[in-house]
C-alpha cells in the first residue's frame, strides 16, 4: 500500500466512524439537518377541521364580546360587517346569497370549518398585534363571532371538543376540482372561433 493510499484509508475510517453511529445508518444523508423534539415543535400549530391541534382552554360569546369590541371591531365593525376603508372582510351575513347574482362571502356564509376561524384568529389576528391572543381569548372571540352569526347558541362554551363539533352553514359548499374545465373542450366553435 502506498503512503497516499494508507493516509486516505485512515482518513476515510476517521470520517466513517461517527457517521456509522447516525440514526439511519446512511452516512450520505444524515449529516445535514438537526433532529427536533416534540417540545421544540410545540411552538407551532395548525388546527384541523376535526379539532386536531386545538389547545386546552375554553371561551364563551359573553367573554368574547368585550374582546371583540376592543381588538376587532375597529376594522371588522360592530356588526361584523367589515368596515370599508380598513380592508377587513365581513365576518357575518350573506347566508343564502352564494347562488344569487350578488353573492356575499363571509365567515358565516362561506367558510366551511370553524377550525379555520380559530386557526386564523390565533395565527394572524388582531392585525396590529398578531399572535398576541391567549387560547382562551381565541375561544371567546370565535364563540362571539359564531354566536353573532347564529351558528352556535350564545350560551355555548367553546372548547376543543365543542368547537370541532360546530357545523358551519356552508360545510358542503365546496368540491375539489383542479380543472381544466372539461367544458372548454367543447366550447362552441372550438379554438379557432371568437
Amino acid at each position: 500500500m502506498s503512503m497516499f493510499r494508507a493516509v486516505a484509508a485512515a482518513v476515510a475510517m476517521l470520517v466513517a466512524v461517527p457517521l456509522i453511529a447516525s440514526a439511519s445508518g446512511d452516512p450520505a444523508i444524515d449529516t445535514i439537518g438537526t433532529a427536533v423534539s416534540p417540545e421544540e415543535l410545540a411552538k407551532f400549530f395548525v388546527i384541523m377541521p376535526d379539532g386536531e391541534g386545538l389547545p386546552p382552554g375554553s371561551g364563551t360569546a359573553a367573554a368574547g364580546l368585550p374582546l371583540y369590541a376592543e381588538k376587532c371591531a375597529m376594522c371588522h365593525g360592530e356588526n361584523l360587517e367589515g368596515l370599508e376603508g380598513t380592508g377587513a372582510p365581513p365576518l357575518a351575513g350573506g347566508r343564502g346569497t352564494l347562488a344569487t347574482k350578488k353573492p356575499f362571502k363571509s365567515v358565516e356564509s362561506y367558510w366551511p370549518y370553524a377550525s379555520t376561524l380559530y386557526d386564523y384568529i390565533w395565527r394572524a389576528m388582531p392585525f396590529h398585534e398578531p399572535g398576541s391572543l391567549t387560547p382562551d381569548e381565541v375561544y371567546s372571540i370565535t364563540a362571539y363571532i359564531l354566536s353573532f352569526a347564529k351558528i352556535i347558541d350564545e350560551a355555548t362554551v367553546l372548547d376543543a371538543k365543542s368547537l370541532s363539533e360546530v357545523k358551519m352553514p356552508n360545510v358542503d359548499g365546496f368540491y375539489v376540482d383542479n380543472g381544466p374545465d372539461r367544458l372548454i373542450y367543447r366550447a362552441q366553435g372550438g379554438a379557432t372561433s371568437k
Binding site: 444523508i29 427536533v36 395548525v46 362561506y110 392585525f127 359548499g173 365546496f174 376540482d177 383542479n178
Partner: protein, 449 residues
C-alpha cells in the same frame, strides 16, 4: 471651499461650478463615497418625499428613480473621464434614465396589499428582482438568516430542522418559472376595469429560482406511508399557511433560496421560499419556516375562505391550483398612444402553469382572424415566453388580441367562453383573452368584445 477638498483629490472645473450651483452638489466624479452612498440610500427609498432630505441639495431639484443614482451627464461622454469602478459600493444600480417601477394597488392597508410588475417595460423574459410583483398579507418581515430554520415534521420518520447553511450545502437545481397571483386580472370578469397592462396583468413575474427539491428533504426525514399533504408555513405576521399535495411536492416542489442569481429578495421571501411551479402564487409560501407532512389537507383560511372559486350554483371549486394558459399583449397596450399609422411590432408575454407554451396567435380584428406570432425565446415548462408579431397599422380602429396555446392542446379561452364555464363570481384564475382597442387617433384602451 478649500477645506472641503483638502483630502488630496484634484478638483475639476465642474466641482468649482458645483460650489456655485448647489443643485449640482453631489453629482460629480470625485464626490466622496460616503456621500454617494447617502444618495444611493435616498434612491433606494425614493417613495419618501424629497423634502425629507433637505441636507442633500440635489434632492431639492431632482431625485434619482428608485434603484438609480444621479450622476452628472456630460454633453459628450467621450470627452470626460467616466466614473471609477465600485463607486456604487460594489452593488450596481440601474441607469438614472430608467424609471419603471412597481405600482401599488389601491388598497386601504399597505401591509396586506399588492404591487404590480410593469409588464410593458420588460426587456426580456425574466423579471428584474426589484420589479417582481408583491402580495403580502402581513407586511414584509426582516429575517436574519442565521436565526432562520426550516422545520420538516409531521408524518415523517424523524422530524428535523435545517439551517440556511445546511440547505446551502445540499445539491441544488435552477429553474425558470413564472409566479402568478391567482387574483391576477380579477377585475376583468364583469367590465374592462384596468387602464393598463400593469394593472390588468401585472401580478405575474418570471424568475430563475435556485434551491433544493422537496424530495431531497423528504429523504432526509423519511415519509410515512399515509403521507399525502404538506403544509407550508411562512414566518411573516400573517404566518401564511397553505396545504400542497405531496405528489406535487415530490414532483417539482422547490425550497428556493436563490432568485435571478442572488439570494431571494426580502419581498419575495428571504431567505426561503416554497416554489410550487405552475400553481397559484399564494401557495408559494414566502419566508418559509415549516413544512408539516399530513395525510389530509389542513383547510387553512387561504384555501377555504379565500382562493376558492364560486360557481353560479353557489358551490365553490376548491384546490383549483394550476394557472391555466394565458397571454397578454404588452405593446401596444392600455394608455399608450401610437403616434401615427405605420409599422409596429406587437409584443407580449404568454405563460402556462400546466405545460409549455406551444404557440401564440394574434388577432388584429377582435378575434375574427388569427395569425401565428413569433415565439422569441425557448418555451419551458411552467414558465413564460415573449412573443412578437409585425403589424402595419393603417390608421383605422383595430382590436388586438393574443391567445396562448399550451402543448397539451389547451387554448386560452375568450372571456365569453370563460364566463360560460364559471359564471362571473369565480374571482380567481381569470385567464381569458385580453382585448386592446386601438382608436383612429392611436390611443389604446382596455375593452371587452
Amino acid at each position: 471651499m478649500a477645506q472641503r477638498h483638502d483630502n488630496g483629490k484634484q478638483k475639476s472645473a465642474s466641482v468649482e461650478d458645483s460650489e456655485i450651483c448647489p443643485c449640482q452638489d453631489g453629482m460629480h466624479l470625485d464626490v466622496d463615497l460616503s456621500r454617494r452612498r447617502m444618495l444611493m440610500s435616498t434612491a433606494a427609498i425614493a417613495a419618501v418625499p424629497a423634502q425629507l432630505f433637505a441636507s442633500s441639495a440635489i434632492a431639492e431639484t431632482k431625485t434619482a428613480p428608485p434603484g438609480a443614482v444621479l450622476y452628472d451627464v456630460p454633453d459628450d461622454p467621450t470627452k470626460v473621464m467616466g466614473r471609477a469602478l465600485l463607486e456604487d459600493g460594489g452593488y450596481g444600480t440601474r441607469s438614472q434614465f430608467e424609471t419603471a417601477v412597481r405600482a401599488r394597488a389601491d388598497n386601504p392597508n399597505d401591509m396586506t396589499s399588492w404591487s404590480y410588475t410593469p409588464l410593458a417595460d420588460m426587456k426580456g423574459n425574466l423579471t428584474p428582482s426589484g420589479l417582481h410583483y408583491e402580495r403580502h398579507h402581513g407586511g414584509i418581515p426582516a429575517i436574519d438568516p442565521a436565526k432562520h430554520f426550516l422545520y420538516v415534521h409531521g408524518m415523517v420518520d424523524e422530524a428535523k430542522k435545517f439551517s440556511i447553511a445546511d440547505i446551502l450545502r445540499l445539491p441544488s437545481i435552477t429553474r425558470r418559472y413564472f409566479i402568478e397571483c391567482s387574483g391576477n386580472t380579477y377585475d376583468e370578469w364583469a367590465k374592462p376595469k384596468g387602464k393598463n397592462v400593469q394593472v390588468t396583468h401585472g401580478l405575474l413575474s418570471t424568475s430563475e429560482w435556485t434551491g433544493v427539491p422537496f424530495a431531497t428533504f423528504a429523504r432526509h426525514v423519511g415519509l410515512k406511508d399515509d403521507a399525502s399533504w404538506v403544509l407550508g408555513e411562512g414566518a411573516d405576521a400573517a404566518v401564511m399557511t397553505r396545504s400542497i399535495p405531496l405528489d406535487k411536492m415530490l414532483t417539482d416542489g422547490l425550497i428556493a433560496y436563490g432568485q435571478n442569481g442572488e439570494m431571494i429578495r426580502p419581498e419575495q421571501g428571504y431567505p426561503l421560499r416554497l416554489v410550487v411551479p405552475g400553481y397559484e402564487g399564494n401557495m408559494m409560501i414566502k419566508w418559509l419556516r415549516r413544512l408539516q407532512v399530513s395525510d389530509r389537507p389542513f383547510m387553512t383560511r387561504e384555501e377555504t375562505g379565500r382562493y376558492t372559486g364560486l360557481m353560479p350554483n353557489g358551490r365553490a371549486r376548491q384546490f383549483y391550483y394550476s394557472m391555466d394558459a394565458k397571454s397578454v399583449i404588452t405593446f401596444p397596450s392600455g394608455e399608450m398612444l401610437l403616434p401615427k399609422p405605420g409599422h409596429y411590432e406587437i409584443r407580449g408575454i404568454a405563460w402556462s402553469g400546466r405545460g409549455r407554451v406551444q404557440a401564440v396567435d394574434i388577432s388584429m380584428d377582435g378575434g375574427k382572424n388569427w395569425i401565428p406570432a413569433r415565439i422569441d425565446d425557448t418555451p419551458e415548462a411552467m414558465s413564460s415566453v415573449r412573443f412578437s408579431c409585425p403589424w402595419f397599422w393603417d390608421g383605422k380602429p383595430a382590436i388586438l388580441q393574443s391567445r396562448c396555446i399550451e402543448d397539451s392542446g389547451y387554448v386560452q379561452p375568450t372571456r365569453t367562453e370563460l364566463i360560460r364555464l364559471r359564471g362571473d363570481h369565480f374571482f380567481y384564475h381569470y385567464n381569458a383573452i385580453q382585448s386592446w382597442a386601438v382608436a383612429a387617433d392611436g390611443s389604446v384602451s382596455n375593452v371587452h368584445v
